[in-house]
Subunit: 234 residues, 2 copies
Amino acid sequence: MAAMSYSEFKKMVDLSKAELCREVFARHPGAFRVKKEATVVRNLERIFAAALRIANQKGFAAMTMRDLSAETGMSMGALYAYFPAKEDLLAMLQDQRRSVTRRILEQRLAQASDPLERLRCAVRTHLYLSEAMQPWFFFAYMEARRLPPAERRRTLEGELATERLFEDLLRQAAEAGAIAARDFRLSASLLKAMLQDWYLKHWKHAGRKITVDQYAAAVLDQIEHYRPGPGQNG
Amino acid sequence: MAAMSYSEFKKMVDLSKAELCREVFARHPGAFRVKKEATVVRNLERIFAAALRIANQKGFAAMTMRDLSAETGMSMGALYAYFPAKEDLLAMLQDQRRSVTRRILEQRLAQASDPLERLRCAVRTHLYLSEAMQPWFFFAYMEARRLPPAERRRTLEGELATERLFEDLLRQAAEAGAIAARDFRLSASLLKAMLQDWYLKHWKHAGRKITVDQYAAAVLDQIEHYRPGPGQNG
DNA sequence: GTCTATATACGGATAGAC
DNA sequence: GTCTATCCGTATATAGAC
C-alpha cells in the first residue's frame, strides 16, 4: 500500500458531522425522547458543535445549559430531549470519539502487512483522525477526569490499548530490521505524547502553517532515523 | 559541569512546599488579610495542597469552596482571608509555577556553556522541575483556559518562550556539530510534547517504575541519536 | 417536538461574633 | 485570625402549554 495522505484519508473515511451523529443515534437507539432519525441527527449536529466549541473554550463544567441553549438556538427544554442530564452529553461525546477511533484504526491497519508500513499507517491514521475530529479529541483529553468511574476506566483502558498497539508495531518493525531496536514501551509512550500534542496544541501548529502530513512526516522521521551506537557526543 | 541527577537537583534547589508558599507571600505583600508570615505560610501550604489535590482530581471549576474547606479543615471565612475570590487562587497557583520555572531554568542554564551540555541541562531541569512540582504543572496545563485574558496571555507567552529556548539550544548544538541538523522549530515542539507528557501522565510512568532520570535519558537519547541520511527503509 | 416558566438546590461570598 | 450563619445569584432540570 502506498503512503496515504490526509486528503486521501478524508475521501475514504466519512467523518462528517452528520455521519458521526447518525452513528450516535444508531448506537443508542432508546436514548432519545425524539424518535425520527433525521430530526435527531440534525439537532445532534447543532448540539455537538456548540458543546465542543463552548466546552473547549472554557471547560465543560463552566459551560451552562443556558450557554448551550443560546449557541444552538434551541430551548433548554428541547435540549433535554436529547440527553437526560448534562453529564450524559459529556459521556456521549467521549464514547463516540473512542468508538470511531478504535474502528477506523483497526480498519486501516488491516490493509497493511509489512511491519514498517503498519507502523507508518498507525501513526498517520491516528494523526488524521485527530485532525478530522480535533475538537472531539481535545475535549476527550481535557474532560476525561470528569467521567463517572466506569466510563473513565473504559477511556483509560482504550488509551493504554492504543499505546500497547504502538509498542507492538515498533517491536515488529525492529524485528523485521526496518528500524533500530530501542526500549519499545518507553518509545511508544513518547510517540503517543507527540501524537497527542497535534490536537492539544492545534492552534499553535495551525498558526505555523504546519500540515498534518508534515507533522506525520516529522514524527516518523524521528522514529525511523533513530540510530543508537557510538555517538559523537562528549 | 557533570550530568546532574534528580537527587542532586533536589539537594540544590529548594522546592519544598513551605519555600514555595514563602515566595508567594514575598511576591504579593499586600494580598493577604492575614499579615504574619508564619501564619500565612502555614495556611497557604494547607490551601495549595488541598486545592491541587481536589482540582487535579475533578477540575478546578468542579471544586467547591466547601470541598476546599473540608479538605483544609479551615472555615470558608478563613479561606477568604487568603484570596479575595476563588479565581484568584487559580491565578496564584499559575503565577507561582511560572515564576519558579523561569527562575530555576535560567539559573541552571547559566552554569553550562557547552552547547550540548546546555541542551541536556535544559531538558533535565524542565523534567526535574515538573517532577518536584508535578501537581502544580498538571494544574497549570489543565486550567490554563480558565484564566482571565491577561493572565492567560502571560502563560501562553511563557510557553512559547520556553519552546523558543529549546529551539535555540537544538540549533546551537547542531551548529557545534554535537547533534545532527533537523527542522529545529518542529523538533522543539515535539520535544516539548515529550517533556509535558512526563507530568500529564505521571501516574502512568510511576506505575511503570520509570524514574525521571530514566525518562530524561530516553528523551535525550532520542534527540541525540537522530541521524538522517540514506535509510534502510523501502 | 419544542417552547416558556419555574421548582429546587447549590455555590460563592460576606457579616459580625468571638 | 477564625468561625458560624446566611444572603443572593445562578445552575440544572422539569412541568405543562402549544
